[in-house]
Subunit: 311 residues, 2 copies
């Protein structure tokens, strides 16, 4: 385990992969390693990307990699995948598309599933980010494959949040819930060679002017990711955003991530303590009694917690 | 609060709505009510429906309501909505579509968001189901708006699980992860008047034959929900499935739901105890120390839990 932490700080991809798997599959055993690498974390720029499926997020990320690599940036990519049993194909396709970068030793790509009883997505993603930071990545891209609430919450915790839209979805812009407008630091209007681009751009800007204070007006960058158009501009806007943000603002975001992770870690630890201290057979007895309506689950939960406190 | 429980058992819709809101927004205060209604739960048939967005789930549900109501069935509908900020419009449309049934005093329709730090979807959905059971609903339809892992897990806990597919998505059937094939008790091939219906049906059946043991082969029902075609057959298949299932099998599913709910309730209770016993300012101090890399979040979590145990 000590070796794993050391290998991570040397930037070894095999160690990063093993560490993320450990965090996902054997969390209790991952903690010594996480404690060891923790002092090396907190120094990377974290870029979050979200947007409707099919908006071209992965192609955009793919196109950003070239220029970033030219500037010798070391990059980590975490694709947060809600594990929809229906979307396996698309995700696989995205991963394959990025394969041409995957042999580059300075780009690490990993998709993470939202799994487990607890959600715990903030924790798992936070830990993957921490591992990549300790491995010396300059830039970490967190891409959400889905757009569920959880994924949006996670992306919100990045230093800069990109929201990808496409033209033609214009009529739907109105229905966006308020949340999405507020999380974007930069809007990307991808597939900007399609008909309806101008209309969608106008609608978006009109909405932004209505809904937001002028000083927070996020830029709208038009891209055609499949041709690499606009990605240079996008990268400059990201730099500008990071450079232009006051340090307190960025610190506040990083602290919010820490605060979320901390709560998730507390939860996971308590949960595991509950699981370890209650035998399955005992849970089974309780479930049987609840099933027979001899007792309600709230009373049972109170009793189990009381017992746990005595441990 | 005593009155609310009483009003629920009388089947009053206003009481059901208030109770579900209480469960969602003020869980601690909902527990007395939940304990009181608990003895009245466990007697309804729970039908889960999942499938890709746009497959016509809501129209199907809508079309099933007519025949069910003719048989004087009292119905509750819970739409589990992952609160995607991008899908607000569609969901609203679905709800409006069902409006023509919403004035029927024996049909109660409610959408539930997956919210909160804990996931807790099994708990929240389980509690909504329990409230509807106590209110005397004969049949409870649990419809997932999304197809994320959490939603699929929830739908799995129904007595009978319907999975809705559409033709033309044929090429994607191959990519379904194993999970989805196993949870379906009945497959619905909706929009079965579209080209490619036969091809998709063949592919699906071939996959089922490959992947499943013969005795568990779920039927594939073709429907055109917009015209009400096939919904009568679907309802008969549901009856057949429930009648044909051995009682142990159905009991096992109900117990699995209880077991999940119990774990979620324990978690939520412990989490709330943590929150109540640690001041925000204290969390803030810890976060600051973690941010400064003076300490790691795992060590902090252990300290907080130790403190909690002394409470």
């Amino acid at each position: 385990m000590r070796d794993l932490a050391k290998e991570i700080t040397k930037g070894k991809h095999r160690a990063i992969a093993r560490a993320i798997s450990l965090v996902e599959n054997n969390w209790s055993n991952a903690q010594e390693m996480m404690k060891k690498i923790f002092p090396y974390t907190g120094k990377s720029v974290i870029v979050g990307i979200t947007g409707v499926p099919g908006s071209g997020k992965s192609t955009l990320v793919d196109q950003m990699l070239g220029p970033l690599r030219k500037n010798r940036k070391k990059i980590g990519i975490v694709a947060v995948d809600p594990s929809s049993p229906f979307s396996g194909g698309a995700i696989l396709g995205d991963r394959i598309r990025m394969m041409r970068h995957s042999i580059d030793p300075d780009i690490f790509i990993r998709s993470m599933a939202t799994r487990g009883h607890l959600g715990g997505l903030a924790r798992a993603t936070g830990e993957a980010i921490a591992i990549l930071e300790a491995a010396g990545k300059d830039l970490i891209l967190v891409e959400t494959v889905g757009v569920g609430q959880d994924e949006v919450e996670v992306v919100k915790l990045a230093d800069v949040v990109l929201v990808v839209l496409v033209p033609g979805a214009g009529d739907d812009i109105q229905v966006f819930k308020a949340g999405i407008m507020e999380i974007a630091d930069i809007f990307i209007l991808n597939k900007a060679d399609s008909p309806g681009t101008e209309k969608t751009e106008k609608q978006l800007k009109a909405m932004l002017e209505l809904g937001l204070k002028k000083e927070h007006m996020p830029p709208v960058i038009k891209t055609v990711a499949t041709e690499g158009k606009g990605t240079g501009l996008l990268l400059r806007e990201i730099d500008k955003f990071i450079a232009g943000s006051d340090q307190d603002f960025l610190a506040r975001r990083k602290k919010r991530l820490i605060s979320w992770m901390l709560r998730d870690i507390i939860n996971e630890k308590i949960y595991q303590a509950v699981i370890q201290n209650i035998h399955d057979s005992e849970i089974g007895d309780f479930v049987e009694k609840i099933y027979q309506r001899e007792v309600d689950p709230y009373t049972v939960a109170d009793n189990i917690i009381k017992k746990l406190k005595r441990v």
